[in-house]
């Protein structure tokens, strides 16, 4: 393997990327849109009145903003993620012990309903240590790079094969592994910038508390990028049809998005669904990032995620290299 050739191809791929206003713009515009949406979510969660769900009972108060939710189970889920501050049921009321606002709501509730309270039993919901927005944020960062990794590597290689770039390279001394390494590396640099950019932008809107080290967070993020890019290499190993590779990438992306607890928790899902999630690189990436951010996990504590992500990355890189053909025949 020649480092010089990898460097040359890496640079030319970088130029291709940053000279295209479309793709360059997209990596900034897409996160901005997401983060603004995210900021809106946060604002909604930040309303000054207490949000109280009244389930299957009557309750009137001037202090509370009442939300009608028919199912207790649904209300409790929202309470767990700080979307509600208090849940009042016919004989019970529920608070989230990890939310200061929830405790405050309880105090107000108790004061207002002194005459009634003897009739209600207090319940404490364990609750997440983080709000839903905090919980969601690593998922947003990971989704952002999911597309960049798979399409930025997989689709680009297939297009280059289709238009004949790879045929031209085949006639040169470049080895497949040099070309593939250059593609994956170039993409990982873009994803590193993008990840830092989204994180910083999110921070501007609402400073996050990151319990663990930023370096560990960056490490697990980049390892995730590596695993996802390698999957892109496998998808692109032989095809020369953009539509087909598009379909294949979508086929891989959607289950990964839904099963990787990006937008919602799989708590309460059947066991097989949870097991399926554990083979998804995106799940390990998101989970690892959440553990660093909310629990301050160290590299040692992340060892399972690191092992799985590195394993998937190395396996797919080798498989992609083995299956790779410059031209279709």
């Amino acid at each position: 393997m020649s480092i010089r050739r990898v460097w040359i191809l890496f640079n030319s791929r970088n130029k291709e990327f940053y000279r295209d206003p479309g793709s360059l713009g997209w990596i900034f515009v897409f996160p901005i849109v997401m983060v603004i949406g995210f900021g809106y979510l946060f604002k909604v969660g930040e309303s000054s009145t207490f949000k109280v769900a009244v389930v299957q009972t009557q309750f009137e108060s001037s202090t509370f903003e009442e939300v009608v939710i028919p199912s207790l189970e649904e209300a409790l889920k929202k309470l767990e993620f700080h979307a509600l501050d208090l849940v009042i049921a016919p004989n019970d009321y529920y608070i989230n012990e990890s939310s200061p606002k929830s405790k405050l709501a309880e105090a107000v509730f108790l004061k207002e309903t002194l005459h009634l309270v003897s009739e209600k039993t207090k319940h404490i919901i364990p609750g997440q240590r983080v709000t839903y927005v905090d919980w969601l944020f690593p998922g947003i960062i990971a989704t952002n790079v999911l597309w960049m990794a798979l399409w930025g590597v997989g689709w680009v290689i297939v297009r280059q094969r289709k238009i004949g770039v790879l045929k031209r390279l085949k006639a040169s001394p470049v080895k497949p592994v040099e070309y593939l390494a250059a593609q994956a590396l170039s993409r990982m640099v873009v994803m590193a910038f993008s990840g830092v950019f989204v994180f910083a932008l999110g921070h501007l809107i609402r400073p996050f508390h990151t319990e663990g080290s930023y370096l560990t967070l960056f490490f697990i993020y980049m390892l995730g990028c590596f695993a996802l890019s390698s999957i892109g290499l496998v998808a692109a190993a032989r095809l020369d049809n953009e539509e087909l590779v598009n379909g294949i990438l979508n086929f891989m992306t959607y289950p990964m998005m839904f099963l990787s607890e990006v937008w919602f928790s799989l708590e309460g899902s059947p066991e097989w669904v949870k097991q399926a999630a554990h083979v998804m690189p995106l799940w390990h990436m998101v989970k690892g990032m959440r553990e660093v951010m909310s629990e301050g996990a160290t590299l040692a504590q992340l060892s399972t995620h690191i092992f799985v992500l590195a394993g998937i990355g190395i396996f797919c890189l080798s498989l992609g290299g083995y299956l790779f053909r410059w031209t279709k025949d």
Binding site: R4, R5, S12, R13, R19, K167, L169, A171, P173
Partner: protein, 297 residues
């Protein structure tokens, strides 16, 4: 010394036999042409030589040896249809491609050699057909190749751009390069090639030096005249039963060794001689006489 030897190449795509048993040899310093109409199997042959495609059977030898991985360092390739890495300038394309080889001609020299100065800093996507072909030729030359393989280097170019490219190739020849080129332009082969093979339907139908080939196959001169009305063809055929009379589109063509008698017979039969002209046969005529069809039809 042989630069290249091709032995009994065979290649099919499914049921379609693209190359049927093609063999030839090329000496060092020679400019060798593979001629034939579109679909004759020229590109397949040259891509097998370049190791881009795999033959079903047959062998290729470079300087007497089967090709190895190291071969890529020694050959320069210009494909008929190809694309360069997107969004690079012509100069950057040269830097990238020459950078991939261990032996290389400095980029500034390549730019001068192939006359790219005017557009060296333009994106290659914005180049005209002739400019792009010159850039591709420069890329093919960038590793100081021992053998240069050019697949239809002037297809689609206007006459001026073709001449321009011929000049560059002629200079390369003068510098002693071994060149293999495919073309369906007979004048190109006559102007550039020391030796040619004519390929049709995947087979070689003639081989030799262009002038010798023409002389041995076509000792006649060619009389051409416009077909002023539809009946003239039949009249001439009856008039000259022993000559080879062809109707090619709106032209009538007579190949003959007895120019004097032919012209007199036409004149005596009051066939209008306006627009008649006489010329030496060329490779196009040779192709027609070998296959009975025009090259670009």
């Amino acid at each position: 010394m042989l630069a290249l030897e091709v032995k009994n190449l065979i290649k099919s795509y499914g049921d379609v036999a693209a190359v049927k048993n093609i063999s030839f040899q090329i000496k060092v310093g020679e400019c060798f042409g593979l001629l034939g109409p579109n679909g004759a199997g020229k590109s397949t042959t040259i891509e097998i030589i370049e190791q881009i495609q795999k033959q079903d059977s047959g062998q290729v030898f470079y300087f007497g040896k089967p090709p190895t991985e190291a071969l890529r360092e020694q050959i320069g390739v210009q494909f008929q249809e190809t694309a360069l890495l997107p969004r690079l300038t012509a100069r950057e394309c040269l830097e990238v491609f020459s950078g991939l080889y261990s032996e290389r001609i400095p980029v500034a020299e390549l730019i001068k050699l192939c006359q790219l100065e005017e557009f060296a800093d333009r994106y290659h996507e914005k180049l005209s057909g002739g400019q792009k072909q010159r850039l591709l030729l420069a890329i093919a030359m960038s590793n100081r190749p021992k053998i240069l393989l050019l697949d239809e280097p002037t297809t689609g170019l206007d006459p001026q751009a073709r001449r321009h490219l011929w000049d560059i190739i002629t200079n390369l020849k003068a510098a002693g390069a071994t060149i293999i080129l495919t073309t369906h332009y007979m004048d190109e082969a006559e102007a550039l090639c020391d030796r040619i093979v004519i390929v049709d339907h995947g087979e070689i139908i003639a081989e030799g030096e262009p002038r010798n080939l023409i002389r041995s196959h076509l000792p006649e001169v060619i009389v051409e005249m416009p077909l002023s009305d539809g009946t003239i063809g039949d009249k001439v055929r009856k008039l000259l039963p022993n000559e080879n009379v062809l109707i090619l589109g709106q032209r009538l063509q007579i190949s003959t060794k007895k120019l004097d008698q032919v012209v007199r017979a036409l004149s005596d039969a009051h066939i209008p001689l306006d627009g008649l002209h006489v010329r030496q046969p060329n490779l196009e005529d040779l192709f027609i006489s070998l296959t009975g069809k025009a090259l670009r039809s």
